[in-house]
Amino acid sequence: MSTKLDYASIDNPKWRNLPPPPGFASSSSTTRTTSRPPASASASYAALKERRAWDQAIAPAKALPMQAFMLYMSGGGVQIFSMGIVFVLLLAPFRNTAGMNKAFAPFAPTKSDANALSTLPLQKLVYILCNILTLGLGLWKCRQMGLLPTGTGDWLAFETRGVAPEILLR
């Protein structure tokens, strides 16, 4: 089980009402139980969440140079290794976009619905754009490898010709 920072419940963690471990001073707990967190702390949490959301949004773009390097290293041939990387590149944007709301849910502001598309719209837009960049890289690689049917040659097999209107006897 992976450990994950739960920013969404940073304001009211579920561990708040647990008794302190033995040996811990109970003096602080008494003050903490009564007082609400100061407004400044809550604002900094919001800023932190927003920053983390922005980080998440441009994460695919940050990975691009590394992916480009890997593509370069994998060579131009149609092989299992390069194909694997290309498949990852092509599939990741779609997977990411599909799981976008979930990925951004931890960073949602306290009051909004964490799983709604409309929360963090700017970050999500940038996230989509960055994924498109990744997709673009993948497609570019496909094209380099000649896997995109862009030439007339790729459609030649589907071309048909009719019967000649005149008959030459021979």
């Binding site: 862009t150 040659g153 010709r161 000649a164 209107p165 005149e166 006897l169 021979r170």
Partner: protein, 1024 residues
């Protein structure tokens, strides 16, 4: 990018090395029939003879060969016991063999005009011992017959000192006599007639005696011929004496001959001729003082040399054609009659007699008379043995059942005899028939037959065989009730157990059909009329110029059926069939028995020419129109004149369309259905015809004329320069086109120019200096020239070979022009490809564009020329079922080999520098001018496939494989896979390993499955 391409290339190279024909495949996938051609029976100098080697040998072991010169310009020797070819020598076309003679182990031949070239061969092995040019061929005198002025005589076998002599006296050109050593070709001396004599004397015979050699000729006088004799010293070549005999010969050589008896030195040679029916003789003495004597008592019509003139025997025919054997004699007039053949006078009961002489092992001469007896319907032989019964002579007569329905009539007989017991004479007859077959008969039993007319195939076609149906009669009726169908299918189901057993057996033993196995089945089994698994077995229907048509099994060359082409009304006057074309009008895919139509021109002896159609069942040779008739096939007089050209209309009905000289269109079958079908498309039909060295395009009027026949009219004429004459029209080979274009490395496309009307035309312009040949590509429907190249005409002849398939033209010519320092004479192959438009991705849809569109002439072409290391005699491309496999060029060279040249090598887009990555992706490799003479590319193994004139190819049932049949003098057939056999599992695929692996895995799963489930259960219980 380049690494995988390189590995692909490496793979390709590997494939290439595995392409070559394996020695183990030779004789399995291919067959070769060496032939000698139809014997030239017109003259004794070239007709078949039995020749016995070793008869002068005291040990008594002899060996016989049958020697003959043939119409295919071959001197050949056959083994009498088996009919196998012992040896043959193939003469060049400009060097026709005119005479051969054999003595002991030496065969000498004269060939060329007037006998310009002397050759000697070993009689048993055919090794060329010596060759000598006696005069320049262009100074040779042309006689009719060609061997009139040539003769060969052998001196005594041992000369005075007892040394074995290998010299021969050779008379050539009607005026020159030489003594030549046959072992070395050294000319000991030459005697030549004076220039004055040459103009009116033709020497035609040589006779050798120990004291003098006589050259005997005929002097032309205003009314007749007069014998002229020169006695020449055999050692020095000096003339000892000359004499003109007071003779008066009317018919030239038919009434004149020279006989001698080489076994008796005391009997001097005799000159014999007929003078108004009286036989005159003159003995030859070195002084030429002899007198002309007359043999009185009988009137003779003609005298016949039976090949025993050096044994003092010949046949004379009396006025009623009754034959008499006459022998040389040293008394009286020099000749005496020793036997009259009984009942040999002209009669309605039998045909005219043929005579032949033969020797037995001891060297005794025999004379045979052969004829066809109408009364008994058999051939008869009467053999007279002069030395038997104390020299009184004996006749052995018998009949033998020669099959005229299969072999026509007997044209020539050669005789060989054996005398095993006192009063027993066994004759061996070597027959040459009118259909070009040769047969050996031992007494009255046939020993073997060789169909030598297969050396003169004029038209041939592959015909697909039907598949053997596992269940017979599956053609379900349209309105079959459910119950009936159920019963039928249940009945069909009874085959299932055998099928299952067979399947299990096949699976267990792995005995599947293999592509490297022979497609031969046991002879006479009905299997050979059914297709094999891969369709390698087909029937080759071949029509020969000797009036016979054959069905040949393409997997082993065996003749399945053969029929004589009947002459129809011309049977009365005589004539012959000249096959024009063979069309397959019904194939297996039409759901009927395959049928062929043979179109021939019948040239009757009275000068009338008809076009005749034979409609034949390709599987049995039966006449489709009259299936029950036996004997010769009777054709159907299709057009009562010559035809200009004939075509096959590729419609459902496959109608044969013939155009006669009045441009009338004749259809076969001429049924209402085919006429309607034709009139439907008549407006669309175009065809080019050759006329006066030009090409005229024609169309058909849409409605029939008054004569109820469609008529064609000319629409265009080829616009070649006026002095150019068309020598060849090569149509585009029909076949499916798998790909409409060629995809380049950058994935743009060059669209193939697939104009269905494309034809290639070869021309010659003899009047220009130097003469040039033209190669054109034309739109055959409207005459537009799409491609033109001029190539040099070496020696003023245009023998440019070309083949055109899809958008690809390959032509081969001989380049004798040297312009620059770095050029050389030699054979060139040019590869031309046509593509639509003017650049990549240009598309004009050339294959279905109307000819009235301007777009049909928008074409660009790539061409490249290569140096061929050999001269090409015939050329074709492979053809496969769907056209997916690449097309190889199949060609035969002068060295009697058949090559297949891969298309990759001939690709005109091969770059002239190191290929770029994109070009490598197209598998192009760097251009090299020389096409290497790669022995792995020889598909004919080490057979010498002589004088191939044409190659036809046909698809097998496997897409990868193409069948090849080459004919000319020899027949050869094989199969090639230009792209390798990609559609069958490799021979060395380890089936056992696959089965073992799969079954081992299955067993492993069965064993481990419970183990794993037990383990899982335990894990659940004792999970930590």
């Amino acid at each position: 990018m380049w690494k995988p391409t390189l590995s692909l290339l490496a793979l390709l190279c590997l494939l290439q090395t595995t392409f070559a024909l394996h020695e183990s495949d030779a004789g399995v996938v291919d067959w070769h029939k060496p032939l000698i051609g139809v014997p030239l029976t017109g003259s004794l100098a070239t007709a078949p003879v039995f020749h016995r080697v070793g008869s002068h040998d005291p040990n008594g072991t002899t060996q016989s060969v049958i020697l003959t010169a043939t119409a295919s310009n071959v001197l050949g020797a056959l083994e009498p016991a088996s009919g196998n070819l012992t040896w043959r020598h193939i003469y060049e076309p400009e060097d026709p063999v005119i005479l051969f003679r054999a003595r002991e182990d030496i065969v000498v031949s004269l060939s060329g005009p007037g006998g310009s070239t002397f050759r000697s061969f070993d009689a048993l092995t055919g090794q060329l011992i010596s060759e000598k040019r006696l005069h320049r061929p262009d100074t040779g005198r042309l006689f009719e017959p060609a061997n009139l002025g040539s003769h060969v005589a052998f001196p005594a076998l041992k000369d005075d000192t007892g040394r074995k002599s290998t010299d021969v006296f050779v008379l050539t050109n009607g005026c020159e006599l030489r003594r030549i050593d046959a072992m070395t070709g050294e000319v000991k001396w030459t005697w030549s007639a004076t220039e004055e004599q040459k103009s009116f004397i033709v020497f035609s015979r040589v006779v050798s005696t120990p004291s003098a050699v006589y050259a005997i000729g005929l002097t032309k006088t205003p009314k007749s011929y007069m014998p002229r004799i020169e006695a020449i010293s055999p050692t020095t070549g000096e003339v000892l004496a000359s004499a003109d005999l007071p003779g008066n010969i009317q018919n030239g050589l038919a009434e004149f001959m020279v006989i001698s008896d080489s076994t008796d030195d005391k009997i001097s040679p005799l000159v014999i001729w007929l003078e108004s029916g009286t036989m005159k003789t003159a003995a030859l003495q070195p002084s030429l003082k002899g007198k002309v004597l007359s043999a009185r008592g009988a009137v003779y019509k003609s005298i016949k040399d039976v090949g025993l003139s050096d044994r003092g025997l010949f046949v004379a025919l009396q006025s009623d054609d009754s034959a008499r054997i006459i022998k040389i004699d040293d008394n009286g007039p020099g000749v005496k009659s020793i036997h009259d053949f009984a009942d040999s006078a002209t009669s309605t009961g039998y045909t005219e007699s043929m005579f032949a002489g033969g020797l037995d092992k001891s060297g005794y001469p025999y004379v045979g008379r052969f004829f066809w007896s109408h009364n008994v319907g058999q051939a008869a032989a009467h053999v007279y043995s002069p030395h038997l019964v104390e020299g009184r002579g004996m006749v052995t007569g018998y009949t033998f059942s020669f099959d005229t329905n299969l072999h026509g009539t007997i044209e020539h007989v050669a005789l060989d005899t054996a005398n095993p017991k006192q009063y027993t004479v066994l004759a061996r007859l070597f027959l040459t028939t009118s259909t070009g077959a040769v047969q050996l008969w031992q007494h009255d039993r046939i020993q073997w037959t060789r169909e030598e007319s297969l050396s003169e195939i004029k038209a041939a076609e592959f015909v697909e065989l039907p598949e053997r149906k596992a269940v017979v009669g599956v053609h379900a009726e349209e309105h079959e009730t459910f119950g009936a169908r159920l019963i039928r299918q249940l009945a069909d189901g009874k085959e299932f157990p055998t099928y299952a057993v067979n399947f299990a057996k096949r699976f267990a033993t792995g005995s599947y059909a293999s592509v490297t196995n022979s497609a031969v089945t046991s002879a006479n089994s009905t299997d050979q009329l059914y297709r094999d698994t891969f369709g390698f077995r087909k029937i080759i229907v071949a029509a020969t110029s000797r009036g016979k048509i054959y069905g040949i099994n393409s997997s082993n060359g065996a003749i399945i059926w053969s029929r004589i082409l009947g002459l129809g009304w011309a049977n009365e006057v005589g004539g012959r069939h000249q096959p024009v074309k063979v069309y397959v009008t019904k194939t297996v895919s039409d759901g009927d028995t395959p049928q062929v139509v043979l179109l021939t021109q019948r040239l009757a002896s009275n000068g009338l020419v008809d076009t005749v159609i034979f409609h034949i069942n390709a599987l049995t040779g039966d006449d489709i129109r009259k299936p029950s008739s036996s004997g010769p096939l009777e054709g159907f007089d299709f057009v009562e004149s010559e035809i200009v050209d004939a075509f096959l209309l590729q419609s459902d009905n496959r109608t044969v369309v013939a155009i006669d000289t009045h441009l009338q269109v004749h259809l076969y079958p001429n049924t209402e259905h085919s006429r309607r079908e034709f009139s439907k498309v008549a407006r669309k039909i175009h065809f080019p015809l050759r006329a006066n060295g030009r090409l005229l395009g024609h169309q058909v009027l849409p409605t029939p004329e008054v004569t109820d026949k469609f008529t064609a009219y000319a629409t265009w004429a080829s616009n070649f320069p006026p002095q150019e004459q068309i020598v060849a029209v090569i149509p585009n080979t029909l076949g499916p086109v798998a790909s409409l274009g060629k995809v380049l490395g950058n994935r743009t496309t060059l669209y193939k120019y697939l104009n269905p009307h494309l034809i290639a035309v070869g021309t010659i312009s003899p009047s220009t200096t130097p003469p040039v040949c033209g190669v054109y590509l034309l739109d055959g429907a409207k005459g537009t020239i799409l491609y033109h190249a001029n190539v040099p005409a070496a020696g003023g002849v245009c023998d440019v070979m070309a083949t055109l398939t899809e958008n690809w033209l390959v032509y081969v010519y001989y380049d004798d022009e040297i312009v620059g320092l770095h050029e050389s004479k030699g054979q060139r192959a040019v590869s031309v490809e046509l593509y639509e438009g003017y650049q990549v991705n240009d598309k004009t849809k050339s294959s279905d564009t109307s000819i009235y569109s301007n777009k049909t002439s928008e074409v660009s072409f790539y061409e490249q020329s290569y140096i061929l290391p050999y001269a090409v005699t015939a050329m074709s491309t492979t053809s496969t079922k769907f056209g997916i496999s690449v097309k190889d060029i199949i060609l035969t060279n002068r060295r009697n080999q058949i090559h297949s040249i891969p298309r990759r090598v001939l690709d005109p887009r091969r770059p002239k520098r190191k290929p770029t990555a994109e070009e490598q992706e197209e598998w192009l490799f760097q251009y090299e001018p020389l096409l290497p003479d790669d022995p792995r590319r020889v598909v004919s193994h080490n057979y010498r496939v002589a004088k191939v004139e044409k190659i036809i190819t046909s698809p097998a049932f496997l897409e990868s494989t193409s069948l090849i049949f080459a004919y000319g003098l020899d027949l050869f057939s094989t199969r090639v896979a230009p792209s390798n056999t990609f559609d069958v599992l490799s021979e060395n695929f380890n089936k056992a390993q696959l089965v073992l692996t799969v079954s081992a895995l299955a067993i492993a799963i069965i064993i481990t499955k419970p183990m794993v489930s037990r383990k899982r259960l335990r894990e659940r219980w004792y999970a930590s």
